[in-house]
């Protein structure tokens, strides 16, 4: 089932949480709502679920498969909602938690006790916790609780699965494991899912589509590859990973050219370079532009060597090198080396600026 959101606004007292949001969540895809805290991503998710109501407006619509669901209460929307802190019913066993959605159905729709048992055990198998049926939530680990919460949401055969920071409260290892598991589950079941996260790595790794939000607005949406390699503005580039920012301005003499430094005048522009987009050399390369910087700190533990440089003005520059490249330059703290960008993005007034540059 596809979900469309048209011109949705939501205010809390004086705070505008969502500002004219329009976006589409395609059928059968796993979409990530990504943004910093306070960007409105959870608010949007709750509006889709029907747990909150958008501001009254004639154009504001939430469509499930093209049908406006504004009048439908939470229960009628048939959404599976998974909370960050699981919200398992603490006084019920795992079995009863999963069975809840079936037991509260109207008498004519309610499955028989044998059917309920069968469904719950199928779901327990799906989340790989068959042996836990009689435990209480307090007796489970965080990762197990989250999987039970997911099984409980799936029990009502939801048309769409909404997950609010589903892995936020778990430690790094369980988190990585669980998101891979969710990805596989999604590939198997193919329902429309939306999950909220502030972790860009998680969004890029798990989702088919990423919607990046900031201050109640959608900044960019697209496949993980698209948003990572073609960020439309400085915010997106910043949010999707570490980046070095250099200030510059658009050259008056040769329009279409940005010159680094000299930030005092008009036509400012920023040059953004990811840490892994640098080439480091011992002497100034003749064929390309470079800047000189001093090594201040080296961290070799990890898949990449992380080097902190300081330029002449004392600004920090982060560079990531492969271990092989690092061995070739044999850098040590205090060394003066030359950095030349392999790739960079120029943004003027926050938006992409296509043109030449010089350092």
């Amino acid at each position: 089932m596809s979900i469309e959101v048209h011109h949705i606004n939501k205010s809390f007292k004086n705070f505008k949480a969502l500002n004219d949001i329009s976006t589409t969540f395609p059928d059968g895809k796993l979409t990530a709502l990504l943004g910093p805290s306070g960007s409105g991503k959870t608010t949007l998710l709750r509006l889709i679920a029907g747990l909150d109501v958008p501001d009254e407006s004639p154009e504001g619509k939430i469509l499930f498969n093209g049908i406006d669901v504004a009048q439908n209460s939470v229960g009628k929307r048939q959404v599976g909602f998974v909370f960050q802190h699981y919200a398992l019913f603490r006084h019920m066993t795992v079995f009863e938690n999963i069975a809840f959605g079936l037991r509260v159905k109207k008498k004519i729709e309610r499955p028989s006790e044998t059917e309920i048992k069968k469904t719950v055990h199928e779901l327990l198998t799906l989340v790989q916790l068959e042996s836990m049926a009689n435990r209480l939530p307090a007796q489970l680990s965080g990762g197990q609780r989250q999987r039970i919460a997911l099984a409980r949401a799936l029990a009502i055969k939801p048309k769409v699965l909404l997950l609010d920071e589903p892995f936020g409260a778990l430690d790094a290892k369980v988190r990585a494991e669980l998101r891979r598991w969710l990805r596989n589950l999604h590939n198997e079941l193919h329902f429309t899912s939306i999950f909220v996260t502030h972790d860009q790595e998680e969004a890029l790794e798990v989702a088919d589509r990423v919607v990046i939000m900031n201050q109640g607005k959608v900044e960019q949406e697209g496949s993980p590859d698209e948003v990572f390699h073609h960020p439309v503005n400085q915010f997106v580039m910043h949010f999707l990973g570490e980046v070095n920012v250099f200030h510059g301005r658009i050259d008056d003499q040769t329009p279409g050219r940005v010159v680094m430094g000299n930030t005092l005048q008009d036509n400012q522009a920023n040059l953004l370079i990811r840490p892994h987009d640098f080439e480091v050399s011992l002497s100034a390369p003749a064929d390309k532009q470079s800047l000189q910087a001093t090594v201040s700190h080296i961290q070799t533990a990890g898949p990449l060597v992380k080097i902190e440089f300081l330029d002449e003005k004392g600004n920090l520059i982060l560079v990531h090198l492969s271990h092989e490249d690092f061995r070739n330059i044999k850098a040590a703290p205090g060394d003066h080396l030359f950095l030349s960008p392999k790739q960079l993005k120029v943004y003027s007034e926050g938006a992409v600026w296509n043109g030449d540059y010089s350092i």
Binding site: G75, V104, A155
Partner: protein, 282 residues
Amino acid sequence: MDIHPHKNGIQPGIWVNLVIALVCLLFITAFLLLPLFIVFTEAFNEGVLVWLKSVGDEETLAAFKLTLLVSAIAVPLNTVFGLAASWALAKFQFWGRNIIITLIDLPFAVSPVVSGLIYVLLFGLHGWLGPWLDKYDIQIIFAVPGIVLATIFVTFPFVARELIPLMTEQGTEEEQVALTLGATGWQTFWRVTLPNVKWGLIYGVILSNARAMGEFGAVSVVSGHIRGITNTLPLQAEILYNEYYFTAAFAVASLLSFLAVITLILKSLAEWNTQRILRSSK
């Protein structure tokens, strides 16, 4: 768990521990155990038969029945009110919420005698509603309805006070999940909200009941002390004592103490259970 408590830097020395423990025990003995012991020895001073005769006295039995009747009306009403109030106050944010929470405590802050007087001023013959009530021949003051009203007022906060912090801590996420799973408002209340506060509720009801049976001040003002009709157990004990029927007075007192001890045992059980559940939900 720390298996070497004496190595803990903030543990005081053994003498300090001993002195503190002694002071506590002394206080408990002098102010709690001794009076309880005296009540029962005085009550059974002249043997079990005399005790039975005192307790079986017609007026005392009537007082016992009235006490049970008043509790049986006041406690359920306050339970329903307490549940509704704490649900509304803990699960929703609205204007005036804090004022209501403060108001619920009013019966704790006001002297019980004043609570009784409020009802006399309201329903008494010379009170605001007195003439109107008199016209229709409805008697509230110096009758059972007045005693029930005064008891309700005095025991008003117990259930709500117990549930508001508990429900506030539990939040509303479980209820929200229940709604997304298709449960109606009632189903959510009966299957999620109520079971989650079950033990806290029982604890509040027990406290409320203890106070309802033991209330003296407010009830004394509105009762009129009509023997065999408007005397509750505490009032009966006082009357007997004032008339120098010491053994009978203590027999009644022992009945009340007995109810109190049962209440305490139930309370500890409920408390122990609440703690256990709170711990396990962390």
